[in-house]
């Protein structure tokens, strides 16, 4: 199968991966994983610990052992939400927002249906969740807040520092979902007032699908929800309580973790400023074209992330995505993007087209795609 001419679905999973990521995984697959890191000097190295160190360095996480790996951001959110509820024991109130993804909404609604929590969804104003709106949702029994840092539909970034401070003052445990921001927004977990920060490896960190995890400041706040082999303390019939073993059981995704470390190396070599400049330029290219016509309705004209959601007047989003893919070779994402609540507000729940380039999408491709989308919109509205 031929590759697409222009891939604009990086908010789902990034493509292409940097050549260094593919090379690192190829190299690692040549040897058994226990041997892959053996240096010329004969000392062994451990790709899991190395990647943990890389993630901690990149996110400025104070303790690498508090970086936990799992299958993806959804898995991380489930471990944290379920583990918080288990530790809490009795029913509590939890806050989330209209921009949140089903990986937050579904675990919370499931707990609610089991009578283990009550959920309040804070609406957003424009494309942002106002810290004051979060403060207004707090009740005496509020114990948890799970809030997406970056919206995968609007491309907006929430002020999780301000939100975190007000939650911290009230002793509310705060999980920030950084699935869309890790790799795009500079993060410093030493200073960010979050109790847990969730990342995914396969989007803007450029690792392979099947990678992700979280940083957890105080492991005592979360009960482990899975048990199994850790390669340590094998005579202990219970899950070891130390970090990271408390939350990691079973064999790791070694090639995935090698890809994640190589993806982060790529980002470090590129530099955060260059990433920011690139995504600003890319969004400007699309917006210049889209905002110049009434035929395209853009749902957030000033996204902070390289995510632009829109509809073409007179053409359903499924039709628009199909036409772009089949007639122009442009891959977009249509529908609700697993974030149904925000769509209720922006498009009446019928969905939209989303484009999301990455730093590896050439600017000429962005320009070409912007012109093609504009052409489709103009054609649809010409009569």
């Amino acid at each position: 199968m031929d590759p697409p001419q222009v891939y604009l679905n990086n908010a789902a999973t990034s493509w292409p991966k940097p050549p260094g990521v593919i090379a690192a995984v190829n190299e690692a697959l040549r040897l058994p994983f226990s041997e892959a890191g053996r240096s010329a000097g004969g000392l062994s190295s451990d790709c899991v610990a190395d990647t943990r160190g890389t993630v901690a360095r990149y996110l400025h996480a104070p303790d690498p052992n508090h970086v936990i790996f799992c299958a993806n951001a959804t898995d991380a959110l489930n471990i944290l939400i379920q583990g918080f509820a288990k530790k809490e024991g009795k029913p509590f109130h939890v806050i989330t927002t209209q921009t949140d993804h089903n990986s937050v909404i579904r675990p919370l609604r499931t707990l609610e249906a089991e009578g283990r929590c009550r959920v309040t969804v804070v609406p957003c104003t424009g494309s942002h969740v106002e810290p004051a709106a979060v403060a207004g949702a707090i009740r005496p029994d509020t114990r948890l807040a799970v809030i997406s840092h970056g919206s995968n539909v609007l491309g907006s970034v929430q002020d999780i520092a301000a939100i975190g401070r007000l939650l911290q003052e009230r002793g509310i445990f705060f999980i920030a979902d950084g699935a869309q921001t890790a790799g795009l927004v500079p993060l410093d977990l030493r200073n960010l007032p979050v109790d847990a920060f969730v990342f995914t490896g396969h989007k803007y960190l450029f690792g392979f699908p099947g990678t992700g995890g979280f940083y957890l400041r105080d492991p005592a706040r979360i009960a482990p929800t899975r048990q199994g082999g850790t390669g340590t303390d094998s005579k202990n019939p219970f899950q070891p309580g130390g970090m990271p073993e408390k939350f990691e059981a079973g064999t790791h995704n070694y090639p995935g973790l090698v890809s994640l470390a190589a993806g982060i190396s790529f980002l470090e070599q590129t530099g955060a400023d260059a990433v920011t400049r690139c995504i600003r330029k890319q969004t400007a290219i699309f917006l210049e074209e889209f905002l110049a016509t009434d035929a395209i309705q853009v749902y957030n004209p000033s996204p902070e992330l390289p995510v632009i959601s829109f509809n073409i007047r007179g053409l359903g989003n499924d039709d628009a995505g199909f036409v772009l893919r089949k007639m122009y070779g442009i891959v977009t994402r249509t529908g609700l993007h697993c974030a149904p609540l925000i769509h209720e507000r922006i498009d009446g729940g019928s969905g939209c087209v989303r484009i999301s380039p990455s730093v590896l999408t050439p600017q000429d491709d962005c320009r070409h795609a912007a012109e093609c989308i504009r052409e489709v919109a103009d054609r649809a509205n010409s009569s």
Binding site: N102, L315, G316, D318, D319, V323, M327, R333, G349, A380
Partner: protein, 111 residues
């Protein structure tokens, strides 16, 4: 592929089908690879199924069909892929109906 009343696999102009996962509104997206190009005649065969439109303003004409409340389908005229979005509850009845209507396109009996 649905069976005919006689219990034999019915011959239809669909070479392969693929169910695709999509984060939409809970609908199921399926792609059908047709044995030949989707033509205006194919489009007319599907007319009893919903409201058909031919969008001629695009670089190639696009067939679209909407069946309320939430089903829709589309194909580029001259190409051999048909994309259909189903409501999960409708899939068991709607899909054989599509096979049956498409069978008319290649002159197969309708049972």
């Amino acid at each position: 592929m649905p069976r005919s009343a006689s219990g034999r696999w019915r011959t239809v102009p669909i070479a392969a089908e693929q169910c695709l996962k999509n984060c939409a509104d809970g609908r199921i997206k399926k792609e059908y690879l047709l044995t030949g190009p989707f033509t205006q005649k194919t489009a007319s065969c599907l007319e009893p199924f919903g409201s058909v439109q031919l969008l001629t303003f695009l670089p190639k004409p696009l067939f679209t069909l909407v069946r309320l409340p939430k089903m829709n389908m589309r194909a580029v005229i001259g190409e051999n892929v048909l994309e259909v979005w189903y409501e999960p509850a409708d899939l068991p009845t709607a899909e054989p109906e599509i096979y049956r209507l498409l069978a008319k396109d290649v002159g197969q009996p309708e049972d």
